[in-house]
């Protein structure tokens, strides 16, 4: 990162995950092996496994807002408000036209469209029963727009569609906008309401990539030989990002500094990942951060527990971190919470940020029988590990159509 560009820091975190509704609760559960996957009824499909969030939606919204809005909007509002509170920023005191909202989404609108089709199916598919809320609910900017309505902010508010790489993309885009001086405060990250559409479950099932297990908490098992697919989850993690000077001026708590990033494309397949391009993304992010592989102390993997995908990401990581990185620890957060889709990258980063303070690396759980093809040096399995130092965290998030994102956050040092 050029030294002439403003430095960007994380000053607040708001989240809801299937196993926690605050960073403290989430982190505690990541360190004590508490997973958040449960059984859930899915329309047309019956009982399936999913990561469900149990945040208090009425904490920041009225009942009518919940009725009119979307789940993704509600998750966004909850996370944004929690992040602002965590950052010590009063909503009333925000400079409304200098606050940007940048939210990564895997997709948006499937839930609402399915609901309307189900609704009119009760009326012989007569479209006069189709809701007048359909369009505002399904526009791609909905989660960010609902958040701006709730906060009263008048700066840019939009979503970034980037499949399952989207959570990182929200942060990366926000950092870019802060550096350009477009805004002074960014509320950014990723959200997902995907568990409320049967289509995503059905799609993964047709693809042979939907996890099943008699014990829901053991269903998401990246790197384990018995892994059998993805647990679909909802969730959200939004951050407040500020330029360092602004954060210091107001005496803000600093979680870490955006050190570097890369976004690239496989250009090779609709669904299958590409280890070469993934490795390239990681290397370019390191170069962007002016760091060597050995400088990274935690690599948080994207691995979703599909048989092939995990091996391919391990191949990419082995290519970059395979040798000469004795202090690099590798973990996976999806083993606790499933795949939170557009929220995944943002939530998984949040789960690791406290390592800067406690120097503990949360593990990848549910690895009873490590797949030899996933046996990376530095993997932290089943129990947390104390690290000698944690100065830089590298977070991978990859998505369909071959979008890769790598974000590096480093310990803040004056």
């Amino acid at each position: 990162m050029s030294s002439t560009l403003p430095r960007i820091v994380i000053t607040g975190v708001g989240l809801t995950a299937p196993n926690g509704n605050s960073l403290a609760e989430f982190r505690k559960n990541l360190l004590t092996g508490v997973a958040g996957v449960e059984r859930m009824e899915v329309r047309y499909m019956g009982t399936l496994l999913a990561g469900v969030c149990h945040y208090d939606a009425l904490k920041y919204q009225k009942k009518k807002e919940l009725r009119v809005g979307t789940r993704a909007g509600s998750i966004s509002i909850y996370c944004a408000r929690e992040a602002l509170a965590d950052a010590g920023l009063s909503v009333d005191a925000l400079v409304k036209d200098r606050t940007g909202i940048y939210i990564g989404c895997t997709e948006h609108g499937n839930v609402e469209t399915e609901n309307e089709i189900y609704n009119i199916s009760k009326f012989n598919y007569d479209t006069k029963f189709w809701s007048h809320y359909h369009n505002p609910r399904t526009v791609a900017n909905n989660p960010a727009g609902e958040t701006s309505l709730n906060l009263g902010t008048t700066g840019p508010a939009y979503t970034i569609g980037a499949a399952c790489a989207a959570g990182n993309m929200g942060l990366i885009h926000a950092a870019q906008m802060l550096r350009l001086g477009e805004v002074d405060l960014a509320i950014c990250g990723g959200v997902s309401e995907s568990i409320h559409t049967f289509g995503i479950f059905a799609g993964f099932k047709s693809q042979g990539a939907l996890a099943s297990h008699e014990d829901p908490t053991k269903a998401s098992r990246p790197f384990d030989k018995a892994r059998n697919g993805i647990v679909v989850s909802e969730g959200g993690a939004l951050y407040t990002l500020e330029r360092l000077d602004d954060a210091l001026r107001r005496g803000a708590k600093i979680y870490g500094e955006i050190a570097g990033y890369c976004v690239n494309s496989d250009a090779s397949d609709y669904v299958l990942p590409n280890p070469q391009r993934q490795a390239e993304c990681v290397r370019k992010a390191l170069a962007n951060a002016r760091l060597e592989a050995r400088d990274i102390h935690i690599v948080n993997t994207h691995a979703t527990a599909t048989p092939l995908g995990d091996i391919q990401e391990c191949e990419a990581i082995r290519a970059v971190f395979g040798e000469g990185c004795p202090d690099t620890h590798i973990n996976n957060t999806k083993s606790f919470i499933g795949h939170c889709m557009g929220a995944a990258g943002a939530l998984e980063l949040a789960g690791n940020l406290p390592s800067f303070d406690d120097l503990v690396v949360h593990p990848t759980i549910n690895v009873d029988d490590l797949d030899p093809q996933c046996a990376l040096p530095g993997l932290v399995l089943n129990v947390p590990k104390k690290a000698g130092r944690v100065d830089a965290i590298l977070n991978n998030s990859f998505g369909m159509l071959g979008i890769n994102s790598t974000l590096i956050v480093k310990r803040y040092a004056a």
Binding site: K63, K64, R67, F123, K128, F129, S131, H132
Partner: protein
């Protein structure tokens, strides 16, 4: 259906579409918008729910008839009774 019963039907719908509102003291002769937090989309909801729950159609030109509980009752009660007599 009596006019009072018709008003209750409308109040039941409003209770669902405006769940934060206190409906215990709605004045029947005052415009709903002047005493409740209702916007134009909410009135479309009332029209939709009348259609879904009761098979009542309110043409756009008649939306003004839904202004108050009294005007709702004046306008809707004959429609409910006409439906019932078909029934």
């Amino acid at each position: 259906m009596t006019k009072d019963e018709c008003k209750q039907v409308v109040l039941d719908i409003i209770a669902d579409i405006a769940p934060d509102e206190d409906l215990s003291n709605v004045k029947p002769d005052v415009r709903l918008r002047d005493q409740l937090q209702l916007d134009s989309m909410d009135f479309l909801d009332i029209v939709m729910e009348l259609r879904k729950r009761h098979g009542i159609e309110v043409p756009e030109a008649d939306y003004i008839q839904l202004a108050s509980l009294d005007s709702c009752a004046e306008y809707l009660t004959p429609k409910f009774n006409a439906l019932a007599s078909k029934g």
